[in-house]
């Protein structure tokens, strides 16, 4: 083997190892910082979605519960999947503006920072999954082979969130209104996402419009797997996966291009 090629592949392997270490170290730092000095610790990560679920179930069961089976689990899935999406994006906007020390670190791979935020929120998401499974069990639902598809759904959602998080984090450096704009938009977007209602319960004309929401196929995938034990529709998820991949490449390009000016802009 040619020695330079060996050196290059060694360098690649090292930089991959380093990239993973950066992710691991920063995710663990962020988690420690969130909960280290709180008595309840990770309990807070669970309390937040649980309260949301309780509120939705208490208020909306009367209107919508009749049309949707296992309404509590249905809402719980909605709250978790949407929550991961919303909190990641809301936090990623202020990511670069609050990491001044890392911006000045020579050759630091800044484009890993949005991944850290998305991964921290994924960790919270995963913490709540056992409670969801327990709830499903109580409602008489047992795991099926379709559950093997869940990691794929998580991977697609991870890519989708990161694809949005990269350009938003970069844009907020130049235009600080971005973080407020994103916060407000996400709050509105929750109502345009079938978190606590079902698209079928809406007029068909309105429902069609909601289909452009990228979180909709993900929610349907989760509900199809967990509530009905069926593999989700591969067509729509495939389109979403491809779109996420394209957006991810594009978002990464925008981020890297903008990142050349971060230190100057701050």
């Amino acid at each position: 083997m040619n020695p330079t090629a060996g050196a290059v592949s060694l360098g690649r392997r090292r930089s991959l190892e380093h990239g993973l270490d950066v992710l691991a170290v920063l995710v663990s730092r962020d988690l420690k910082l969130l909960y280290k000095r709180s008595a309840l610790g990770f309990g807070w990560a669970l309390l937040h979605p649980l309260i949301q679920v309780c509120v939705f179930v208490l208020i909306f069961r009367g209107f919508l519960g009749g049309k949707v089976e296992n309404y509590a689990s249905y809402v719980f899935i909605g709250v978790l999947v949407w929550g991961w999406f919303q909190t990641s994006l809301a936090q990623s906007t202020s990511l670069i503006t609050s990491s001044r020390a890392l911006l000045r670190q020579p050759r630091f791979p800044l484009s890993l920072l949005p991944l850290v935020t998305v991964a921290v929120r994924l960790f919270h998401f995963s913490l709540a999954l056992p409670i969801l499974v327990a709830l499903l069990w109580m409602q008489g639902i047992r795991p099926t082979s379709a559950w093997l598809g869940l990691p794929l759904l998580i991977a697609i959602q991870f890519a989708l969130i990161t694809a949005f998080a990269l350009p938003l984090a970069a844009l907020n450096v130049r235009v600080r209104d971005t973080q407020h704009f994103v916060g407000v938009t996400l709050q509105l977007a929750m109502y345009l996402t079938p978190v606590f209602y079902s698209i079928d319960s809406l007029p068909a004309r309105l429902g069609r419009w909601l289909e452009i929401n990228p979180v909709v196929p993900l929610l349907e995938g989760w509900r199809s797997i967990l509530l009905r034990g069926e593999w989700p529709d591969p067509g729509r998820l495939g389109i979403l996966a491809c779109a996420s991949a394209v957006l991810l490449v594009l978002g990464h390009r925008i981020f890297v291009h903008q990142s050349r000016r971060f230190v100057e802009e701050l």
Binding site: V25, K32, P106, R107, R261, F262
Partner: protein, 418 residues
């Protein structure tokens, strides 16, 4: 030693949008920005070319706002040049904002691991060097305490320890000697010397002229984003100090004029804008002066104009750059308003009461407000002094003692001494 430079900078220029425009945009200014002509940008750095080889240490000096931080940021690669090129090979270690990234609620250990990994090490590498890092920082008792309980000095020690244990090929240092107590500073210096001996190229930005003079191989003086002087530490720091000293004594609203670095003829020993020139300097008293004998210098200049009214400076420095005498025509209340365009200046000290040793005579012509040097010849004219009484110190005048004594009593000792 590796002969290709680790840092190579050529024709580097960095232009910033106007200072006030660096504030973040709001939507309003963002939208309005398309219609309004941009405010004039300014060049933070221009026309910089230099290189630093393995094992070499470059000092960067200059007043605040001269472009030193911009240069460090460009070398670190966190901002990018507007024109020209910066190339830095190998791993870059930066001692810039020490401890700025530490999280208060995490322990010293947790923060050190984060700092090591974000500085480019893998976790395995950090773990294998961890004991050395803690020992160097002298924090073994406190390493598992939260950083919020640390003093500023402890934080900086930890940050410094992590940074120097990343084994960088290129180290960028901003005022490193402000870290910790004297003992720790000494260890920092020796650690930096070790890295340098191991082939690390170092760029040190400092206001401490003593450190720059003692540690650097070459010094780059930045003035308003351009090279004011580039050369040996003794020459550049002495000229810089002279100019800064004078600036503080003679604050003037004059905008500094263009000056350039032109070492022709006196490689490494001449700086100035050359609006006036010193064409020759002669030591009339010869290359060896007897202590207490007269000393005189003849300076031939040209390029004088009535508008310039320059100041002539003569100084004597020892070999290590220590200033023994620094005087000028302004201090002597000598007007140069009617100076002839070319001519010869003679400077005489009737009794040169210097200690024996080797010295340099330096001569310079400066702007009337001490704004910058027109021409300054530094350490180009050596001479030695001999025949001085055996005192210690810089001056060796004729001395006289008067010792009060008690009434003399004849003793064998005093007899034997007679």
């Amino acid at each position: 030693m590796n002969s290709s430079p680790l840092i190579d900078v050529s024709a580097l220029g960095k232009r910033f949008a106007h200072r006030s425009a660096s504030a973040p945009l709001t939507w309003r200014t963002f939208l309005r920005g398309w219609h309004q002509p941009p405010r004039p940008p300014f060049w933070a750095l221009r026309n910089l070319s230099f290189s630093v080889r393995a094992g070499e240490m470059l000092g960067v000096i200059g007043r605040n706002g001269a472009g030193k931080s911009t240069l460090l940021n460009l070398l670190a690669g966190v901002i990018h040049p507007t024109e020209g090129r910066v190339s830095v090979h190998g791993r870059i270690g930066a001692l810039l904002e020490l401890g700025g990234g530490f999280a208060d609620d995490l322990t010293g250990r947790e923060n050190a691991i984060v700092a090591g990994v974000t500085a480019g090490l893998t976790r395995r590498e950090v773990y294998s060097r961890f004991d050395d890092i803690v020992a160097f920082a002298e924090l073994s008792e406190f390493i598992d305490e939260p950083v919020r309980t640390y003093s500023t000095g402890m934080r900086m020690r930890l940050a410094f320890a992590v940074a120097v244990h990343t084994r960088p090929d290129v180290l960028l240092v901003d005022e490193f000697l402000a870290v910790g107590d004297l003992a720790f500073q000494a260890r920092c210096r020796s650690r930096i010397a070790e890295l340098r001996a191991g082939g690390c190229a170092i760029v040190l930005v400092s206001h401490g002229m003593g450190d720059v003079r003692d540690t650097c191989d070459r010094v780059l003086w930045l003035r308003d984003g351009e090279i004011a002087a580039f050369g040996s530490p003794a020459m550049v720091t002495a000229t810089y100090e002279a100019e800064m000293h004078r600036r503080t004594l003679h604050l003037s609203p004059t905008i500094p004029s263009e000056s350039s670095h032109d070492p022709d003829g006196f490689p490494g020993k001449r700086v100035g804008s050359r609006e006036m020139e010193i064409t020759s300097v002669r030591l009339l008293s010869g290359s060896t002066v007897r202590s207490g004998a007269p000393f005189s210098v003849e300076i031939v200049y040209r390029g004088g104009r009535p508008a310039l009214t320059p100041i002539f400076v003569v100084s004597i420095t020892s070999e290590d750059g220590r200033v023994c005498l620094d005087t000028n025509t302004e201090a002597a209340r000598l007007s140069t308003e009617r100076l002839s365009p070319t001519g010869t200046i003679r400077f005489t000290i009737p009794r040169l009461e210097l200690a024996a040793g080797r010295y340099f005579a330096n001569a310079g012509i400066f702007h009337r407000d001490w704004d910058h040097a027109y021409d300054h010849h530094w350490h180009a004219y050596p001479f030695s002094v001999d025949g001085a009484p055996a005192h210690r110190g810089v001056i060796a005048p004729v001395c006289q003692w008067d010792v009060p004594t008690i009434a003399p009593a004849p003793t064998p000792v005093s007899l034997s001494s007679i």
